[in-house]
């Protein structure tokens, strides 16, 4: 959406006009007061289905991209969502950003339902959430300079004073360590390295001082040596500005340096929620086990052994398997249970939730 705004000729050509239109009428939903502020963001039974169309008439079913996802994000908390491609993690993020309308369930931001926002309220919401895209080069408009890229959200957000905008841009670039700022201000995205491009994306996401940042695989396109640098930068920004972050990734080994809690997603469902230390120490779901086992650390002994990997591939989200969605690949399947009934969410230790029959009270007793 932000890219869309950057591209629109109206936003670019008539900025003075735009400013007057934008600023006066931006109704802000009543924020929760400090004392009773609950979670910043709360998802309740969120569902996101995409309809498949046949040629001509009718539909061929739905892609169940996100199915019954519930969680809270506290103020200032960093959360990671881990899953393989196609598991629905990007769809989940887009639903949170308000880019997709939820099929069912709700996304609550500071007590307000994101799906019920009017276009004006949506505009306000977009100043409250930042978005760090996966591919920095694709996310930056190629014909705009770094200064223009960063100025755009400020103009749309209604910062009228030019000097004030310039000062804010300088501060944003300093925060992402693009110094000396003057060297970068007037550069175009293709003149920057991948790491610098990603810094600009981060600076843009941060420039409205959002309460909440969604980072969708922010380092997967970058080189190993730069990856750590960008993650540490994000982490430091998060600590100094106290915003909340959802960090979406497929790489478990980077999660540890970034977030307190981690959600593991498989085939549209969050199958395990835990503190990262608990997850590494005591993984519960067989799928989490498999993910951890498949993650290598650099060690020459790896070449001597075969990895234990569950067979097969993630299921189609059009017709997900009955019962637990992991059961066709699961090494610890309970026949007659896992393949028939969907597991509930069981709490196995404090703040550690698992969607797996192995941890249901009846199974534990038996």
């Amino acid at each position: 959406m932000k890219e869309g705004a950057a591209w629109s000729s109206a936003g670019y050509m008539n900025e003075e006009e735009n400013m007057t239109v934008n600023t006066d009428v931006m109704p802000v939903p009543a924020p929760a007061t400090v004392e009773d502020r609950g979670p910043l963001l709360s998802l309740q039974n969120l569902r996101l289905y995409f309809e498949l169309r046949k040629f001509g008439f009718g539909h061929a079913g739905y892609v169940h991209a996100v199915d019954d996802v519930t969680f809270d994000v506290a103020y200032g908390e960093a959360i990671a969502v881990v899953g393989e491609s196609g598991c629905g993690k990007s769809s989940l993020m887009r639903a949170i950003l308000g880019l997709y309308k939820a099929t069912g369930g709700t996304v609550i931001f500071e007590g307000n339902d994101v799906n019920k926002f009017t276009p004006q309220e949506m505009k306000w919401y977009r100043t409250q959430v930042g978005y760090v895209q996966q591919d920095p080069y694709g996310a930056l408009a190629p014909f705009l300079s770094v200064r223009r890229i960063l100025e755009e959200p400020l103009i749309i957000g209604g910062m009228k004073d030019k000097d004030q905008r310039a000062a804010r841009i300088v501060r944003a670039l300093e925060e992402v360590k693009m110094t000396p700022v003057g060297d970068f201000m007037n550069k175009f995205p293709h003149m920057l390295s991948g790491g610098q491009q990603q810094r600009v994306v981060i600076a843009r996401a941060m420039i409205m001082e959002p309460k909440f940042l969604v980072a969708d695989e922010p380092v997967s396109m970058l080189d190993a040596s730069v990856r750590v640098e960008i993650l540490k930068l994000l982490r430091r920004l998060q600590e100094t500005h106290h915003f909340s972050v959802i960090y979406i990734t497929h790489d478990l080994s980077t999660v540890r340096y970034f977030s307190e809690r981690v959600f593991v997603m498989y085939a549209g469902k969050i199958i395990e929620k835990a503190k990262i230390s608990d997850l590494l120490r005591n993984p519960q779901h067989p799928y989490t086990d498999a993910l951890l086992a498949a993650t290598s650390d650099p060690d020459a002994n790896n070449a001597r052994v075969y990895k234990e990997v569950p067979p097969g591939e993630p299921p189609s989200l059009v017709k997900p398997p009955a019962g637990c969605r992991f059961h066709p690949r699961c090494p610890r399947i309970i026949k007659g249970v896992c393949d028939i009934q969907e597991p509930g969410e069981y709490i196995t230790e404090p703040a550690h939730h698992t969607l797996c029959w192995l941890y249901s009270p009846e199974e534990v007793k038996a």
């Binding site: 080189d223 040596s225 750590v228 478990l252 020459a300 070449a303 990895k307």
Partner: protein
Amino acid sequence: MADQPLLRIEDLKLYFRTMAGAVQAVDGINFSLDYNRSVVILGESGCGKTSLAKAILRLLPRNVAEYSGKIFLEGTDIMTFSDESYRRDVRWVKMSLVPQAAMNALNPVLRVGEQVAEPAMIHMGMSKDEALETARKMFQNVGVPADFLVRYPFELSGGMRQRTAIAMALVTSPSLIVLDEPTSALDLLTQANIMNVLKRIKHGFGTSYILITHDIATSSELADDVAVMYAGQIVEVGDAFRFFAEPLHPYSKKLMASVPRLRGETEPEFIIGQPPSLISPPTGCRFAQRCPSRFAKCDEEPPTYERGGRMVKCWLYE
């Protein structure tokens, strides 16, 4: 032949012509590889590792400015071969390639079985039926169900496509396979599966690999030897056990320290600065600008020193 290494590369250079000048993508590479061994070429993007693969397989673009050096394959210098005899006797017969993005490597309008069979028909002179039978066996080896032979590439998942590309590289039973980032576009579990397949093939067929990757953690799954590449040059080559335990070159040390680890408590570090331009690389050591242990000597190009069977291109080991 027994005391000959499978592959020995001497002073291999590959420069590209551009508007701004010659890009020295591969600049004087030396290493050798034995039968049934695998060497991992580690490096960041833009360090010339894919160009190295292209140089070894002589898959060159048009704008080559310089292509020189010696490549001994089973004792014969294949750089002296004409393009035609290279195509007939070397490529796919003795060395094959698994390209990075398997979708782009497969022809979208041909059934995958036919594509896998094609090298066998062309290079081994098999009939179509024989070749398809060989392809079927290769599919079994890489773990693709045999009924996938009649499918088209778009009907396969990413992992299955990559397996198909591996089957295609295997079908002529070459002694060396060059793997260019074979798993970087794949999911974690699929990645682990493909690594298992590659290990099994190496074990069963005695194949050697050159694995080109930037993913240090995954590379250890297949490494007998490790070569670290920086700005067109190899800065360190050595046995994997000793490399992963204690890298020698300051760049290798930094690179290893930048790997996030799942187990253990070490904090990853990053490398300050950027790799130099390959158009006019700095004189002297190319890593000197970013090196924490740089000293006066680093202004001159370091020779390669031997340290207990490992080679390192750094003045610290003089």
